[in-house]
């Protein structure tokens, strides 16, 4: 019955007491290991995920631009009722969202055809892409040439075409708006992160805000002159890089020194005289005109110009610049004689095809110059571009003087002798030059007589009315044998829109039933100055 000794009782208690902490500590440490491992893996996966997400944002913005361009190429779906819209496309990825904003910009100066129209200059496109909490913004400018009418949905441009319409039951010749082949493309695309957009436009209040979008458009437009400068400045270098079999010296490990890269580029960078000093040119006009002229040289009648240089050169060989509607010149000897009398020698001064102007430019095998390059040289812009407004420069290039126009009138005094004596007067314009010269050649002679009377010419005055007035014909650019055929001005205007936002405005909201401005609206230009009335004679 002796009580158990303390050592016998405590031994089992001590064993249990030691095992429990060991197991607990071991479990804790295993848990920590698992936690740390999982956490470390997740952290690396998260970083990789962020890398992929960032790339996805870029692709989302690109997608937004593509959607906008495809839709706008079809039509301005909102054009009947409003000048802007937002698209929210449905995406397969629930983590991604896209908002595409389009804003119409109209030309300040309205245009008169059979009635007065406001013209759509371009559409600014903004994209807001979100992916897993990150956001990226995109901007682009959908340009069109010739311009479509602002009222309506069409993105097909219009030009003036002579038509006959019924006015009060009578036929009347007018210049009416008619759809024409149109060049369209989104240009000037740029992407910005959220922090960058606030740095660019501090007042930015979100893409939903029209004023913020307008401010962004102004911000991006500020890059246009440096853009034009660098385009011309780097033309030769670009062409040589494309054309040459240049090698950039690299080490065995595949690295390249900055110095050797710079030296390689400098060896190729020897611009011709026309483009050598563009870096220092201060005139915005010269920079813009250089851009327009040099892009024309490389344009092969398609906006899908993302091709290799070799293929581009092949396409350029097919391009032709020509005058589709040359003037019909007067060969009537009486008219020529009458104008000579009216204006004195050496009038009429002829404008000769092949000497004073060239009607057709094609690729020249000997010099390997494309049609546009030869055209520019012949027009006096082979070495440099003028310091005149780019719109005026485009006008000058797109037309050429093909004739001199003259207008005259005459008056002759006839004297009747014999029966019922008296004096009568005959007069006429150019179209009756035959009669004029007949009378002129018979001054002092009888031109009609019988037994009772004689009519003789006493005097003939041939009076100059106007002339020589230059008459201009439009150049067109085409690929013979294909439907590709544009007025040259359409192409020049298209490239000018890369750089020029002048004289455009964001229009106010349209409401259903919106109507175009009447004759009283702003400035109105008549796009079609008549080349010559029927009484003008061309030489």
């Amino acid at each position: 019955m002796a009580s158990p000794s303390p050592s016998v009782r405590s031994a089992p208690r001590r064993t249990v007491g030691m095992a429990l902490p060991i197991i607990l500590v071991a479990l804790l440490i295993v848990g920590l290991i698992m936690f740390a491992f999982t956490r470390s893996s997740q952290s690396e996966l998260n970083l990789l995920d962020k890398l992929i997400s960032a790339q996805k944002l870029i692709y989302l913005v690109r997608t937004g631009m593509g959607i906008a361009e495809a839709k706008l190429a079809k039509e301005r779906w909102y054009g009947d009722t409003k000048p802007r819209d937002v698209i929210v496309p449905t995406l397969d990825d629930r983590d991604a969202s896209l908002k595409i904003y389009v804003d119409d910009y109209v030309q300040v100066v309205a245009r008169r055809y059979e009635k007065v129209y406001r013209m759509l200059d371009h559409v600014k496109v903004f994209v807001e892409a979100r992916y897993r909490g990150n956001v990226m913004y995109g901007f682009g400018k959908f340009i069109l040439s010739p311009e479509p009418v602002f009222d309506g949905k069409s993105t097909i441009g219009v030009t003036g075409a002579r038509k006959t319409i019924k006015v009060a039951g009578e036929d009347k010749g007018v210049v009416a708006a008619e759809e024409a082949p149109t060049l369209r493309r989104i240009v000037g695309m740029k992407f910005l992160h959220e922090d960058e957009i606030y740095a660019a436009v501090p007042t930015f209040a979100g893409m939903d805000d029209v004023d913020s979008r307008r401010a962004l458009g102004r911000f991006w437009a500020g890059d246009q002159i440096p853009y034009a400068r660098m385009y011309g400045r780097n033309l030769t270098l670009s062409e040589k890089l494309w054309a040459s079999s240049v090698e950039f010296p690299s080490s065995a490990s595949g690295t390249i020194d900055v110095e050797s890269c710079r030296a390689t580029l400098q060896r190729l960078d020897v611009p011709p005289n026309a483009l050598a000093n563009l870096e220092n040119v201060q005139s915005e006009n010269v920079l813009k005109n250089t851009f327009v002229g040099e892009t024309l040289k490389r344009f092969f009648l398609s906006t899908a110009w993302d091709v290799t240089r070799g293929r581009r050169d092949d396409e350029l060989k097919k391009v032709e610049i020509y005058i589709p509607y040359p003037p019909i010149k007067c060969t009537n000897a009486d008219v020529i004689a009458a104008i000579g009398k009216a204006f004195g020698a050496p009038h009429p001064i002829p404008v000769r095809e092949g000497i004073d102007y060239i009607s057709t430019f094609t690729y020249d095998l000997a010099t390997r110059r494309g049609a546009a390059e030869q055209f520019l040289i012949q027009r006096g812009f082979g070495n440099s571009y003028p310091d005149v407004g780019p719109a005026d420069f485009s006008d000058t290039l797109a037309q050429v003087k093909t004739a001199n126009a003259y207008k005259f009138k005459w008056i002759a005094t006839l004297v009747r002798t014999g029966e019922d004596p008296g004096t009568s007067i005959e007069k006429g314009d150019t179209l009756t030059a035959g009669r004029c010269m007949f009378l002129y050649n018979n001054i002092g002679n009888a031109i009609e007589s019988n037994a009772a009377f004689t009519i003789s010419v006493e005097n003939v005055d041939i009076i100059p009315v106007s002339g020589p007035t230059p008459y201009y014909s439009d150049y067109y650019i085409r690929e013979p044998g294909t439907p590709k055929n544009y007025p040259l001005f359409t192409v020049l205007n298209f490239f000018l829109k890369y750089l020029d936002d002048a004289l455009v405005e964001l229009p106010p909201n349209k409401s259903p039933g919106y109507t175009e401005p009447g004759d009283g609206y702003g400035n109105i230009v008549d796009p079609f100055v008549e080349g010559g009335d029927t009484y003008v004679v061309l030489f």
């Binding site: 740390a36 890398l51 900055v258 344009f299």
Partner: protein, 161 residues
């Protein structure tokens, strides 16, 4: 005698106790050393994370610049061959080259003569023209045993004739 016996017993350890204590010591020492290793590993993971973040920024910058390019100038032939340099005109028509310099991947603007470091630990950079207007580029980097590579294909959005 009666009192001295237990006192004598308390003064020593049994073999079992000794084994347990030594075992515990070994276990705790092992955990401690493991803990130190984890701290070091954690720092390395953190560093790797920082590197990946830099790599991400570099790849985004590169992707964005190339997306908005006006033209890819070099490589200038559609081939299977890769080149260690990619020359392009950026959205502002400036000539820019991306290549692996001795200091790492850089973006060199020829017109401003500014070199922008993109990623220092890059081990390789390759570019090739796989279609008339489609460039493929690949960037690789290595840190200790970790290797990363990033490959992308892009067309230039702001091309001109």
């Amino acid at each position: 005698m009666i009192h001295s016996a237990p006192h004598h017993l308390r003064g020593g350890f049994t073999l079992v106790e000794l084994i347990v204590v030594i075992g515990l010591f070994v276990l705790i020492s092992t955990f401690f050393l493991r803990g130190l290793q984890w701290v070091r590993h954690g720092a390395s993971t953190n560093e790797k994370g920082m590197l990946l973040a830099r790599f991400k920024n570099a790849s985004v910058l590169l992707g964005r610049e190339l997306s908005c390019a006006a033209a890819f100038l070099y490589p200038n032939r559609v081939t299977q061959e890769s080149h260690p340099i990619l020359v392009f005109k950026n959205a502002g028509n400036e000539v820019v080259a991306v290549f692996l310099a001795p200091s790492g991947l850089v973006m060199y603007n020829y017109n401003t003569d500014v070199v922008k470091p993109l990623f220092p630990l890059t081990t390789a950079f390759h570019a090739r023209l796989i279609q008339e207007n489609l460039i493929e580029y690949e960037v690789m980097f290595q840190k200790d045993q970790a290797k990363f590579s990033f490959r992308n294909r892009l067309t230039p959005l702001n091309s001109l004739p």
